[in-house]
């Protein structure tokens, strides 16, 4: 027994750990921490808080009802649609602007500082102004989503466009590629990993922009659903919305990661 216990780690070292080991070493601690946190939450609410405060058991109990409620689904759809629209607009305009900044010195001088400035500006402070310009409407929500997400894409695409290996451009020039074709057929695909990193960042920011503008504007959507239910003591219902938003955030990251692997098999990072 003693000798095998001593030999085991030495044998295991050069090979990757088997699945059961990985489960034990990474998944298990994570799971245990999560369960402890949930348990603490459950106990604390039961002991200290009034009955309408959400606790894990009440959230789980109400979840099926909320997730099949047409009003909730409509609110979710409205928010997701707005995020998708805003992201598409950000993606197109942001990519064009980023390419210009990355490949043209004049565009860089004219635009880069402003992009940095707006990227650093908290999106919430622009919301009162947007609501005056565009009204208490879905237009303001879209504007906020675009403002929240576009600069992340611009900055990443600009970085990518600057980092295009000179040999690609040289090959394109040698084969007499026109400038615009070089931009969209060489610079853009070469910048794709940067672009997707930007989109990843932009997705999270767009979601925040949507929810915050719904809070502020009281227009229909998942953010407003959460706000409304919190204020009317339906904390558990509100919490289902919160968890769903978190799931969308994670889901978007996973989707972008999957797209990277599926559509850019040539782009390989060291690990994972």
């Amino acid at each position: 027994m003693t000798s095998s216990a001593i030999n085991a780690p030495a044998d295991a070292a050069p090979e990757p750990p088997p699945l059961s080991d990985r489960l034990r070493q990474t998944v298990l601690p994570r799971l245990v921490t999560g369960l402890i946190l949930l348990l603490m939450w459950e106990i604390a609410v039961r002991l200290l808080a009034p009955p309408f405060v959400a606790r894990p058991s009440s959230v789980v109990a109400i979840a099926p009802k909320v997730l099949t409620d047409p009003k909730f689904l409509a609110a979710t759809g409205s928010t997701l649609l707005a995020v998708a629209e805003g992201l598409v607009i950000s993606l197109i305009l942001g990519t064009l602007t980023g390419l210009a900044i990355g490949r043209s010195r004049i565009a860089e001088k004219a635009l880069l500082q402003h992009v940095n400035f707006f990227y650093a500006m908290p999106m919430i402070v622009i919301l009162p102004l947007f609501s005056l310009w565009f009204g208490y409407s879905a237009a303001t929500r879209i504007a906020t989503i675009i403002f929240a997400s576009i600069f992340a894409i611009v900055m990443n695409v600009a970085d990518g466009a600057r980092a295009v290996p000179g040999e690609y451009l040289e090959v394109a020039r040698s084969f007499r590629a026109q400038r615009l074709r070089m931009l969209f057929e060489i610079v853009l695909p070469s910048s794709m990993p940067y672009l997707l990193a930007g989109v990843r960042l932009a997705g999270g920011r767009a979601l925040i922009g949507a929810v915050v503008s719904e809070f502020f504007l009281s227009i229909g959507g998942l953010g407003y659903y959460i706000l409304y239910n919190s204020r009317s003591y339906h904390h558990s219902e509100a919490f289902v919305g919160v968890l769903l938003l978190a799931a969308f955030g994670v889901g978007f990251e996973v989707l972008v990661g999957w797209c990277t692997r599926r559509f850019m098999p040539w782009y390989r990072r060291g690990a994972n």
Binding site: E167, V171, R173, S174, R176, S190, W266
Partner: protein, 273 residues
Amino acid sequence: MSAPSAPAAQPAHADSARIRVRSLGKRYGALEVFRNIEFDVGAREIVAIVGPSGCGKTTLLRCIDGLLPHDTGDIWVGDARVEEPIAGVAMVFQHFGLFPWKTVFDNVAYGLRMAGAARTEIERKVPEFIKMVGLAGFEKAFPYQMSGGMQQRCGLARALAVEPSVLLMDEPFAAVDAQTREILQFELLRIWQERPTAMIFVTHSIEEAVLLGHRVIVLKGRPSSIHEIVEIDLPGPRTRATLQLPRFAELRERVWGTLMREAREAEFQLERA
């Protein structure tokens, strides 16, 4: 094996010169790279350029491709004066220069697409050249899935696909291993026999220069200029057997001697400075 009537032994540049380089000079700011470069390349001739590293061989080739501006002199390809890349000239790059997001097919098609070729033409020609370089079956592979030798075959097919009258080779086999390099050299000779073009082949390997070139240009000095042009009067077509000829060894030694003398002089110059 072959009849002695092979044209390679004759001075091929004597007939129609495809490339004419006249008193060419290039400087990067205060640093003069080369000066007064003059030579011709015949329409069916391979000219190899050797020289110590840093002598400006690659810069010279980039000037001839029109990728870099030159400061003095002229470069003519046919009747066209080279100021920027022109049609009918294709380059094969040392680091392959394949686009990693494109498959072999799309990489090979790139030059044709840029030249505005019709889709039917692309679909007809690209497989032909992929086959010519021995990559049939790899049309859908991405560069990262292939060895260096296969990647350079793809780079060669891309250059050949535009059916250029001038091929510029920038140390194309420097980044592949020794065996692959040897295989590719003979593949290149075979392809050149099928479709002869004017070719400038830049290399730092004397053996490669003598094997491939009908003439070998030796660059020397700082700034560099043409030190010697060695006629390589080996019978063609050249094969592995060529490497065994006494004449091959003689010519190799001759170029080697010229280069080494220069290298030693350059070293002494540095020591004195």
